[in-house]
Each structure stands twice: as structure tokens, then as C-alpha cells.
Amino acid sequence: MSGRSGEEMIDAYLHRLREALRGTPADRRDQIVSDVVQHIAEARAEESSSDAATISGLLARIGTPEEIAAAFSDTNGEEQSRGAPESNRNDQGSPRPQSPPGAVQWAIRLMYGGAATSIVTAVVDLATRSELKAFLKSGTDLASRLHGLPKLTPSQLGSSTMDDLVMAVIIWALSVLLWSLIARAGKDGWTSLRFAASALFGIDTLMLLIGPPDLSVRGPRVTDICPVVVWLIGLAVVLLLWQRSASKFFDASR
């Protein structure tokens, strides 16, 4: 290495490292090389000199590229040859499913967020039923005065709001259940998760288009805004689940 500058030595080292890691998955190789580049930068910042002797000592402490490649084989190669490492096996000795990538983990968190949003909407919706009853009463009174239509009796009004209440409870319970089920299935590595989530998102989009919230009459309310929030969460979930890292994970889980 004599005669070369510190920079040249680092370039040559990194070139050898890439060569030694050839045959490893590209994303893992890039990650390790990036980590080593970062390590060198941090170690150099602590040194008072950047001469060849200092850099040589620094690179010697990091270890040879071949040592790092061997460490990769130790920690990952065994995983490939045995199916899964010991640390990745459960008590019964069977391999644990591979951990989902960040995109899938975020999608799962968002699904639980969707379930929570549905619960909040349901609670607010149920709490404002008396307001709805008053709104219906004033509406029918107005229709009666202007158009001579018969007023709804208190029992008709009660029955109407009760039907509405039952329907709302069913819809919101179904929504919470679906969000929770697909989040749970995603955690367990269900390979059809993307298709199920996309289909449900399609249904949600149709429902939103068919019955969009009417913000013009009474102004936006929590129960009007929440379906839009839930739709946006659904959109984010679908986008995350169709990312390349997620696709690789689901393909590998088949």
C-alpha cells in the first residue's frame, strides 16, 4: 500500500469490499458498504491526521473485506443454507416467518389507525344521535309547513332514528372488524393481504362516491370527515403494500 494516499487506500478498500460481497443480495451489499463508508468517515473525524499510515491503521481495525464477507456468510449464509437461523426459529424449531419490511409494518400500523378512527367515528356518531333526531324533526316540520306533508309522529321519528342507529352500529362494527382482521393477517404474513386490502379500498371508494358526505347544509362534522380520513388511510395502506420492498416480502412468503 506504500506510495498511495489515504483517499486512494480507502477507494481501493471499498472496491475490494464490494468485490468480496459479490454474490450477496444487492440491497444488503449496498447497506453494508454504506455502513463501512460511514464508519470510515466517523473514525477519520476522530483522527488528527489523514496520512497513509493513519488510514492504514484505521482500515486494519475495520478488518479485511474478506473478513467482513465471511461475517456476512456467518450471519446470513447459514440462514440461507438452513432455511432460517437458530435465532429465527420458534420453540418448536420451525422457522419463524421473515420480518415484514418497513412499508408493510407501516401499512399494518395504519390499518390499526383505520380501526381506531372507525371506533372514534362510531362513538361520536352514536353520541350525536339526539342531534340527528332534532334535525329530522325540524326537517319534517318544515316540509309539513311548506308543502302540507304530514308530520312524523314521535313513534315514527323514534323508529326512523332507531333503524338508522342499528345500521350505523353494524357498519362501524364491520369496519373496525375488517381493519383489525386484515392488520392481524398482515402481521402473520398473509400473502393475499395486498389483494384483500385493495379490494376493500375499492369498495370503500365506491361507497364514498355513492354517498359522499354532505358538508354544505350543516357544515363539516366529525362523522362527515372521518369516512374521508378512513379512505385516505386506506389509500396510504394500498400504496405501501404495493411498494417494491413489500412485493419482495410477499413473493418470498409464498
Binding site: 444488503r28 447497506q31 453494508i32 455502513d35 463501512v36 460511514q38 464508519h39 468517515a41 466517523e42 473514525a43 477519520r44 473525524a45 476522530e46 481495525r61 475495520i62 478488518g63 479485511t64 473478513e67 467482513i68 465471511a70 461475517a71 456476512f72 456467518d74 450471519t75 446470513n76 440462514e79 437458530e86 435465532s87 429465527n88 421473515q98 420480518s99 415484514p100 419490511p101 418497513g102 409494518q105
Partner: protein, 106 residues
Amino acid sequence: MSQMRRGAVEYCVMALLRDRDRYGLELARTLVAADGLVSSEGTIYPLLSRLRNEGLVETFWRESAQGPPRRYYSLTDRGRESLKFFVEHWERFRSAVDRVLEDGAG
């Protein structure tokens, strides 16, 4: 023995991250200083890469007062659970081995 050491090192890394986040150089030097845990500083990066891929640790950048921004490693909830599981089983395993070694010596 080397297999046992390899298996234990990943939990040593997670144990170092249990109480606070650390950057790569710091982790590497601590493990090199711990007698024989890793042979050289760079050999921890394949392990850190695997732990990241398995969602046991995650990384973020933080400014440094003396040099470039540093990539810090932190333990995820999944990593914390995995470490807890290991510690419980390790203590039982170590006690069992100690008992056999002491009985054998006696």
C-alpha cells in the same frame, strides 16, 4: 465455541441498544473491546444489516459535534421482545451449564 459466540453477539448488540441509541463506530469499538466478541470493527455490519432487515433494530441520522452526521441504531419493540426472550433463556442455560461444570469439577 465460535458458533455460540456468533449466536450471542447479536443479543449483545441488542443489549447495548437497550438503554440508549448508539452509532456504528461506538457499537463496533465496544464489542471489539469486550474480550473476543468480534474479531474486527467492520464485522458487525453484516450482523447489523440482518438485524435491520429483520426489524429488530432501526436506524436514524443525528448530527455530530465532531464530524459528519452519524447513523444511529435503536432497538425496536420487536428487538426488545427478542432480547427479553433471550435473556430469560440465557440465564437458565448458563445456570444449567454452571451446575454441570461445578458438579464435574467436584
